[in-house]
Amino acid sequence: MITLNKMLLYCIPTLFMLLSAALLAGGTWIKEPLGEKHDIMAQMEYMHSLIDKKEWEKASDEYDNVEASWETISKRVQFSVERDDLEAINETLAKIKGGMKQKDTSIVYPELYYFYELWEQLG
């Protein structure tokens, strides 16, 4: 007969392994938005469309939302992704911000597409 102690002996390590694996390997789904808030891809695409229309002021406002979302998401995914990937996203976001300040699409567009690629690979 399996006693409670024996069951816990197997259940606790198994549960620990499963939860740890989920935390360390779950980057691809942990990065996804948990609700309507922090949907960074949607925010980025909206910002992209504003830049297309040269509406720099609005795009800059939307950038603040993107930055806030990234702040939250990066804390969530930091356990399962490489530090270099997080730093690359920080870097490209900073370049996008600078490019928008300069209202220079030749800076912003390459970084936007680089961001999409980084986001796709993150996790």
């Binding site: 390590p13 620990f16 392994m17 740890s20 694996a21 935390l23 360390l24 390997a25 980057g27 990066s74 804390k75 930091q78 356990f79 399962s80 992704v81 490489e82 530090r83 270099d84 997080l86 730093e87």
Partner: protein
């Protein structure tokens, strides 16, 4: 990235992962430490260290490598049990280094052991003359087992026809004032027997740090109060403590 927090979480996970994996691999890793086991252990430790602290790579990658090592270790253990041929391939076989007091140079060369190393191994077994060696074997784990020549074997009780008792273990029955009932049962004793013996020793159970049933079925009692002087202190001068 909150690097300190990430390292704490990864180190916590790594610690318990290697604890679980080590328990799964079992005692063989420590008891039979061949060269392969040694290198395997170092590699597993190195992967675990990277899993905890190398933030430039995903922790999961290292976990996967650890798991592969665990699975391969399991597989080799299983193959070794099932097939004596593969067991021989994995762990090699004992090699005779000395026989009837003679050093087998050819075998020494084969296993790359010098005569000095062999003599050192014999001395560690309390054998100071090669003539005393009946058989010396190099085991797969690198240790040397020695069977002394018959005249140098220790005298046994049965050789002298001295009556002997069946060998038993010392069984702990009290630890820090608490009775270990499971062990009492193991030696077919009960609480009454124990309390009776404690009473005879004129101590209270709460004063007992350690008590055990000895192989001859008597009770050994050690109290917290030791009443031991400083006459055996081997320190030669006044130090910081």
């Amino acid at each position: 990235m909150q690097e300190s927090l990430v390292v704490i979480v990864r180190a916590f996970i790594t610690f318990f992962v290697i604890l679980i994996y080590a328990r799964l691999i079992g005692k063989q890793q420590i008891g039979n430490f061949t060269m392969f086991d040694y290198i395997n252990g170092i590699t597993i430790g190195s992967i675990a260290a990277a899993m905890a602290t190398d933030l430039t790579t995903k922790a999961m990658v290292h976990w996967l490598a650890l798991s592969v090592f665990l699975i391969l270790t399991f597989a080799l253990q299983w193959i070794g049990i099932k097939s004596s041929f593969w067991s021989k391939v994995q762990d090699s076989e004992p090699v005779v280094l000395m026989q009837n007091g003679k050093i087998l140079e050819h075998n020494l060369k084969k296993v790359r052991i010098t005569k000095n190393e062999l003599m050192a191994q014999l001395r560690q077994k309390n054998i100071f003359s090669p003539l005393e060696v009946g058989l010396a074997l190099l085991e797969p784990d690198g240790s040397v087992s020695v069977l002394p020549e018959s005249p140098y074997l220790p005298v046994q009780k049965k050789d002298l026809h001295i009556p002997y008792h069946i060998a038993r273990l010392t069984t702990e029955v009290i630890n820090d004032g608490k009775i270990i009932e499971q062990n009492l049962k193991q030696r077919n004793k009960n609480k009454e027997w124990l309390l009776d013996n404690i009473q005879k020793a004129e101590v209270d159970i709460s004063q007992i740090a350690f008590a055990a049933i000895l192989p001859n079925d008597t009770l050994y009692i050690d109290t917290f109060a030791d009443d031991v002087g400083d006459e055996n202190n081997v320190s030669d001068f006044q130090g910081p403590y």
